[in-house]
């Protein structure tokens, strides 16, 4: 009986670790720190307040669903990453920048890593990744946060 309980416990922990990995916002080799993740509620608050300093928000995924965001296209494609680079070249290094994709869970999103790596390589100092660990529907649209037309 003791063995059965131990096996069950082992299974539970394995399942827990797996689920945590799938829905986590931070993997071991990801090019961002936990401090660089921006909570959707915080961005929504800023976007809803025209008096607040507005960040430059780049959509580096499929569709710029967030109000005021600039559509660059999926950053996994070299041409789109180059477009982002061109736009970033014109900005001061301390610009407040936010990037987001939101197609898929962070663990398998092909776009956020190239974009964040580019910002890192270009030595920007004030950039964030919008924390959409599941997708832009669940973590933004369903919450009623501001959308583009």
């Amino acid at each position: 009986m003791k063995t059965k309980v131990l096996i069950f416990l082992l299974f539970a922990i394995t399942a827990s670790v797996f689920a945590s990995y799938v829905f986590s916002s931070q993997g071991q080799n990801d090019p961002w720190t936990p401090q660089q993740l921006l909570a959707p509620a915080d961005l929504a608050k800023v976007l809803n307040n025209p008096k607040a300093p507005q960040p430059i928000v780049f959509c580096i995924g499929m569709d710029a669903v967030i109000k005021g965001s600039i559509n660059v296209g999926p950053a996994m494609k070299a041409e789109n990453l180059n477009t982002l680079k061109q736009k970033l070249t014109k900005l001061p290094k301390d610009s407040q920048i936010v990037v987001y994709c939101g197609c898929c869970p962070f663990s398998r999103c092909p776009n956020i890593r190239p974009a964040m790596k580019l910002l890192q390589d270009m030595q920007f100092t004030n950039y964030k990744l919008l924390d959409l660990p599941q997708n832009v529907k669940v973590d933004w649209i369903d919450k009623g946060y501001p959308m583009s037309e």
Partner: protein
């Protein structure tokens, strides 16, 4: 002690899998899912209800979703194998693919390249698609199997489990 260990284990699994189970809520087996009427790549509208009388897999997918793309090969095999068969509550098997793509060219190119020959519809609205909202889709891939009367038989089943479910309703000759 044993009870404590079990309680911790249940809590661990429960809390972390809550997100997964959220996807499974909303549409229960035995109910009818809402109607879908969306255009194909050619622009003509195909209603889900027009498939009444067939066993139908409603497949929510997108070309930007890697697991969905991988699954299309498996769906092609199932479609070929089961499309002409008879089922306890339906004659023939059909797939009603609903793409959450945003760009028509991505969607269309994939269908042509991969010779997808079952029904494909999309409003090209990505996660903004009203269908994604109506069906409470929390992530892709997501699917629902319905019988000839439009009743939900199973949901979010993939791989071997999907084929087993089709076989479960198959009338063997």
């Amino acid at each position: 002690m044993r009870i404590l260990i079990l309680a911790v284990a249940v809590l661990l699994v429960g809390s972390n899998l809550a997100t997964l189970s959220a996807q499974l809520r909303g549409f229960e087996i035995g109910n009818k899912p809402p109607e879908i009427k969306l255009p194909t790549t050619r622009g003509d509208t195909v209603a889900l209800s027009s498939l009444k009388g067939k066993l139908v897999l409603i497949d929510f997918w997108a070309t930007w979703c890697a697991p969905c793309v991988n699954e299309q090969t498996e769906l092609a095999k199932l479609y070929q194998k089961y499309k002409q068969s008879a089922y306890t509550n339906g004659k023939g098997f059909e797939i009603y693919g609903v793409s959450l793509d945003a760009k028509k060219s991505n969607w269309e190119d994939f269908l042509v390249t991969n010779k997808i020959n079952w029904i494909q519809v999309s409003d090209l609205k990505f996660w903004r698609s009203p269908v994604a909202k109506t069906y409470n889709i929390q992530g892709l891939p997501f699917n629902i199997l319905i019988d000839g009367n439009g009743i939900i038989l199973a949901k979010n089943i993939h791989g071997i489990d999907l084929e087993k479910e089709i076989i479960r309703f198959l009338i063997k000759k």
